[in-house]
Point group: C2
Chain length 215, copies 2
DNA sequence: GTTGTATGCAAGTAGACACTTGCTTCAGTG
DNA sequence: CACTGAAGCAAGTGTCTACTTGCATACAAC
């Protein structure tokens, strides 16, 4: 069983290394790279500031490891919801979308900061795209399978469809704080997006009438 | 000479106030609030740093005025493209979307920085949502008119549709730098989004068969 | 010519910043 | 016990930060 990390025999929560990584991510999420000062990170971690430099060498190294860790913890958590062979398309897409949306929404502060830092810290650019790559690829595979089966139009551009759905979810997760009143209710929003999306695909449900538009 | 706008008799490009506002926005777009130091802004504006404080009082005041100015310059530039009475829906929505997308894409650096700063500087939150309010409202009115005319389903949630289209455009404008290869070609992307969106609406073209599902 | 206003320039403030040095404390291991 | 390694602590380093002060200069109006 792969854990992806080297677990020491120490109490993880008490390990200064772990505490610093956790605190660094919190400070970064609150105030960005420049605002996450080494003093503040050390205080939040309840660890001496000197220990920070002994363990990580520099602020830059610490923050890079912190965001990498935060990204790997949620990467590819949604892709499992899309089966190899599509069944109930709306339900399956809905489950995937809900998990993907939730993962972005929970990390929205970090994501926003990474997006604003990507010119000055290219490492965060890589982290960002890697974090979504697996989920988006799974969606692409799923839609491709639908296309192969002839359930959606043959001339449908999957890249456009994927960009539309992932973009909608991304913008909702990021923007809901900014313009509250203009978004659908949080409970039902994702399901409504999926309903619209399925219709955009021109998906012909097997059980329903054969209503393929083109002759 | 009559210019028709509120212009001082000074040469605008040489006016230190104008130069500072312009430089402040540039520095903010490059490095965010903390990275836009007063020294750097003054250097970029080729104006003495002391003049900055004499004219604006503080760095905070300068930056707030700068982002406000940048927002008001592009606010409501797209809403004019949606007529009161819909005609060629795909073309009209396409024109609106293209202009709206372009406005976001050109200011993407500033927008990304504002989004990451909105907890620490609530003023930027207000600027952000105000900048989009008019365009989004115009889209909402347009779709509402379509609904009234019965061209799209009566049970369609316009809030969801608006969120989906604006979200797609926003995510494209912001994300194209981050994950280049996963987006449709820049030339055609917006038109493809619109094509999908129109199909999602279930829009029945007047010239085509009368295919209204529910009577 | 005098006054006022706007700008430049040199210098300086107090605090924050990332990072370092030297020394102490303490737990674990032989 | 002695030794080692990890951590804390106090006190620095030089640089940067927003912002201030005092004074010199230019130019326009009266």
């Amino acid at each position: 069983m792969e854990t992806g990390s080297i677990v020491t025999d120490k109490d993880v929560a008490g390990d200064p290394r772990f505490r610093l990584l956790h605190a660094a991510l919190g400070a970064f999420a609150e105030s960005g790279y420049r605002g996450a000062t080494t003093r503040r990170i050390a205080e939040m971690a309840e660890v001496n500031e000197v220990t920070l430099f002994r363990l990580f060498g520099s602020k830059k190294a610490l923050l890079e490891q912190a965001v990498e860790l935060s990204q790997s913890s949620t990467a590819g958590v949604a892709d499992a919801y899309l089966p190899e062979e599509p069944g109930d398309v709306e339900a399956e897409l809905g489950a995937w979308a809900r998990v993907h949306w939730k993962a972005m929404r929970e990390r929205r502060a970090v994501i926003r900061k990474m997006m604003s830092e990507l010119e000055e810290h290219p490492h965060m650019n890589a982290c960002l795209s890697d974090g979504w790559k697996k989920s988006h690829a799974a969606l692409d595979r799923y839609l491709n399978r639908l296309k192969e089966r002839g359930d959606i139009a043959r001339d449908m551009s999957l890249a456009t469809a994927v960009a539309m759905l992932t973009g909608t979810l991304f913008a909702d997760a990021m923007g809901r704080d900014i313009k509250k009143h203009t978004f659908p209710a949080e409970r039902t929003a994702v399901a409504e997006y999926i309903a619209l999306f399925v219709r955009a695909l021109g998906y012909a449900r097997p059980a329903a009438l054969d209503a393929r538009a083109t002759h």
